[in-house]
C-alpha cells in the first residue's frame, strides 16, 4: 500500500467517500428490493411485510445499540442496517418465530459487522452469515415452508390439500415429485424463503441497480451463467435451476456486496463462477437442498486471495475504480 497515490483516500473497502454516498446507494438497493417484497406479500400475505419490518427494526436497533455501547459514531443514517434487515428477512421462511429472526439480525449486525469494526471492515456478508447460522442452528423452523392458496397447484398437490407445511421446489425436485411450471417458477407463485420466490421481481430490481450503476453486472451474470451451464452439463433444466431457491436473490443482492466481493472485474467474474460452481455442487450432492448462501460465504472468504491475484495484474487501476 506504500505506493498508493496521495490523492486517494486510504480506507477499507468499499472506499466510500462520504456517508451520504453510502446512504444513496443503500436507498437504491432498498428500492430494488420492493418489487420482490410486493410479490412476496401477494404470495404469502401480510406476514411478509411484518417479517421484513421486524428484521429491519431489529437490525437498525442493533446497529444503533452496538455503536452506542462502543461509543462510536452513529451509523444508522447510512441505511446499511436497513438493507441487511430486508435481505435477511428475504432469506427466512415467512412463518419463522420472530425471535429467531431477531437472533439472526443480532448475528448479522453485531457479530459479523460491528465486532469487526463496522461497515466496510467485515469479511463476510452479514445477511449471509445470519441466514446460515439460523439455517444450521434452527434447522426445523428454518425449513418449515407454509402453503398458501396463491401458490402453484403443483406445490399444493405435492403436500396434500390440508397440509400447513410444504416442500420447496428444490426439495420436490430432489424427491422426484411434480414440479411447478417454469412460468410459475419465474413469476414466483411457489414457496421458499420469503423474498427469494419471484425471479421476475428480483430481476427487475437487479436491472434497476445495474442501470443506476449501483452494482456491476459481472458477478450476477457470471454466477447465473455458471449455474445455467452446469445445469445443462449435469442434465438439469437450467430455467428451473435459475428460478429455484436463492440463486437470483443471492446473485443480485448478496454476492454483489462491495465489501465482501472482489474489486476488479476479472476478480468479480472468478467470484461469480465460484459461487455458481459451489451452488450447483451443494445442490446436487450435499445434504442441504440449497447451497447459494454457503457458496457465497466461501467466495467471501476467498475474496482476499482473488483480489491478491487479480490486483497484481491491474495494479493501481482497480483500487481507485472501486465503487464510491
Amino acid at each position: 500500500m506504500a505506493d498508493m497515490h496521495k490523492d486517494l483516500i486510504v480506507s477499507a473497502a468499499p472506499h466510500v467517500v462520504s456517508p451520504a454516498d453510502t446512504a444513496s446507494i443503500m436507498r437504491d438497493v432498498v428500492i430494488a428490493l420492493i418489487p420482490a417484497l410486493a410479490v412476496s406479500t401477494y404470495v404469502f400475505g401480510f406476514g411478509a411485510i411484518f417479517l421484513t419490518a421486524v428484521c429491519v427494526i431489529a437490525c437498525v436497533f442493533f446497529e444503533w445499540a452496538a455503536r452506542k455501547i462502543l461509543k462510536r459514531e452513529n451509523t444508522i443514517g447510512d441505511w446499511s442496517a436497513i438493507v441487511t434487515g430486508v435481505i435477511l428477512a428475504f432469506n427466512l421462511p415467512v412463518n419463522i418465530p420472530k425471535w429467531m429472526a431477531v437472533v439472526g439480525c443480532f448475528i448479522a449486525i453485531v457479530v459479523v459487522k460491528q465486532l469487526f469494526g463496522g461497515l466496510g471492515q467485515n469479511f463476510a456478508n452479514p445477511a449471509i452469515v445470519g441466514r446460515i447460522t439460523l439455517f444450521i442452528g434452527f434447522a426445523t423452523p428454518m425449513t418449515n415452508w407454509v402453503i398458501t392458496d396463491r401458490m402453484s397447484q403443483a406445490i399444493i398437490n405435492y403436500s396434500g390439500p390440508d397440509a400447513v407445511a410444504g416442500a420447496t421446489p428444490l426439495a420436490i425436485n430432489a424427491a422426484g415429485g411434480q414440479l411447478p411450471s417454469n412460468l410459475e417458477m419465474f413469476l414466483g407463485t411457489i414457496n421458499g424463503s420469503m423474498g427469494e420466490v419471484s425471479t421476475v421481481a428480483l430481476l427487475i430490481g437487479g436491472i434497476y441497480l445495474v442501470i443506476r450503476k449501483v452494482i456491476s453486472p459481472a458477478i450476477p451474470v457470471s454466477f447465473l451463467a455458471t449455474v445455467a451451464v452446469l445445469s445443462l452439463v449435469m442434465g438439469f433444466d437450467p430455467i428451473f435451476q435459475l428460478c429455484a431457491g436463492g440463486v437470483m436473490l443471492g446473485a443480485i443482492f448478496m454476492a454483489t456486496d462491495y465489501v465482501t466481493s472482489p474489486i476488479t472485474t476479472p476478480g468479480r467474474i472468478i467470484f461469480g463462477i465460484g459461487c455458481g460452481v459451489f451452488t450447483m455442487l451443494i445442490r446436487s450432492y450435499a445434504s442441504y437442498p440449497e447451497g447459494v448462501s454457503f457458496a457465497i460465504l466461501l467466495m467471501n472468504i476467498l475474496t482476499p486471495h482473488i483480489d491478491r491475484i487479480t490486483r497484481s495484474k491491474l495494479n493501481g487501476v482497480a483500487k481507485g475504480g472501486a465503487k464510491a
Binding site: A12, L70, V111, V112, Q114, L115, F116, G117, G118, Q121, F123, A124, V129, I132, T133, I136, F278, L281, I282, Y285, A286, S287, Y288, G291, S293, F294, A295, L297, L298, I301, L302, T303, P304, H305, R308
Partner: protein, 201 residues
C-alpha cells in the same frame, strides 16, 4: 488391502473437506491461530505438517500393528508415538539441512513447532482408532495435512483483510481472530453429506 480408486479419493477428500482437522475436529488450532497471519508462513507451516503427518503415519502404523499389538502393549501407544514423532521431526530436519538446504531454509522454523502440533499425533492415533489399513492411513494423513493447508490458506486470506480493522477494544487480538475463525468454519458445514453422495458411500 484392496482399495479402489474411489475409496481412496473418498478418504482423502473427506479428510480435506467434511472432516477438516482444523475447522471441524479442532486439531492444530494453535498454529491455525498463530501462524496464519502471513500467507507465506501459513503455507510453509502447512507443507511441513503434510510431510510430517505422512512420514509419522508411515512409521507409527507398523509400530502399532507389528510391535505393540502382538506384545499386548497397545496402551504404550501414546508414549511411543510422541517419541517417534519427536525423533522423526529431528531426523527430517537433519535430512533436509543436509540434502535439500533450500527447503530446510524455507521450512526450518516450522519443523520444531510440529512436534507439539496436536494434529500430527492426532492423525496417527485416529488412524489406529479408525482401524484403517496402512494405505488408508497414509491417504488419510495426506488428506488431513492438505485439509490443514486449506484451512490455513482460507484463514490467511481472511486475516490479511481484517488485520488493520478498527476493532472494539475488548475484541482486539485473539478474540476477534476466534470470531473470524467461527465464521470461516461455517462454510465447511455446507458440504456435509456431499462426498458420501458423490462416491456412493
Amino acid at each position: 488391502m484392496n482399495l479402489s480408486l474411489t475409496a481412496a479419493f473418498y478418504i482423502v477428500l473427506s479428510a480435506i473437506i467434511t472432516n477438516n482437522y482444523v475447522l471441524s475436529k479442532f486439531l492444530g488450532i494453535c498454529p491455525f491461530l498463530g501462524v496464519s497471519k502471513k500467507l507465506d508462513n501459513a503455507m510453509g507451516m502447512s507443507v511441513a505438517v503434510i510431510i510430517v503427518m505422512v512420514v509419522a503415519t508411515a512409521v507409527t502404523w507398523p509400530i502399532q500393528h507389528y510391535l505393540l499389538d502382538p506384545r499386548g502393549i497397545g496402551y504404550m501407544q501414546t508414549i511411543v508415538f510422541i517419541l517417534v514423532i519427536a525423533a522423526l521431526v529431528q531426523l527430517i530436519e537433519i535430512f533436509l539441512k543436509k540434502y535439500i538446504p533450500g527447503l530446510h531454509k524455507a521450512l526450518g522454523i516450522y519443523l520444531p513447532l510440529i512436534t507439539t502440533n496436536c494434529a500430527v499425533l492426532g492423525v496417527c492415533v485416529l488412524n489406529i482408532d479408525n482401524e484403517f489399513s496402512f494405505v488408508q492411513s497414509l491417504l488419510n494423513s495426506f488428506g488431513s495435512g492438505v485439509g490443514f493447508m486449506l484451512a490455513m490458506f482460507l484463514f490467511a486470506g481472511v486475516r490479511s483483510k481484517i488485520e488493520t480493522n478498527d476493532y472494539p477494544e475488548s475484541f482486539k487480538g485473539i478474540a476477534s481472530t476466534l470470531v473470524a475463525a467461527s465464521i470461516t468454519s461455517l462454510c465447511f458445514l455446507g458440504f456435509s453429506g456431499m462426498l458420501e453422495k458423490i462416491f456412493g458411500m
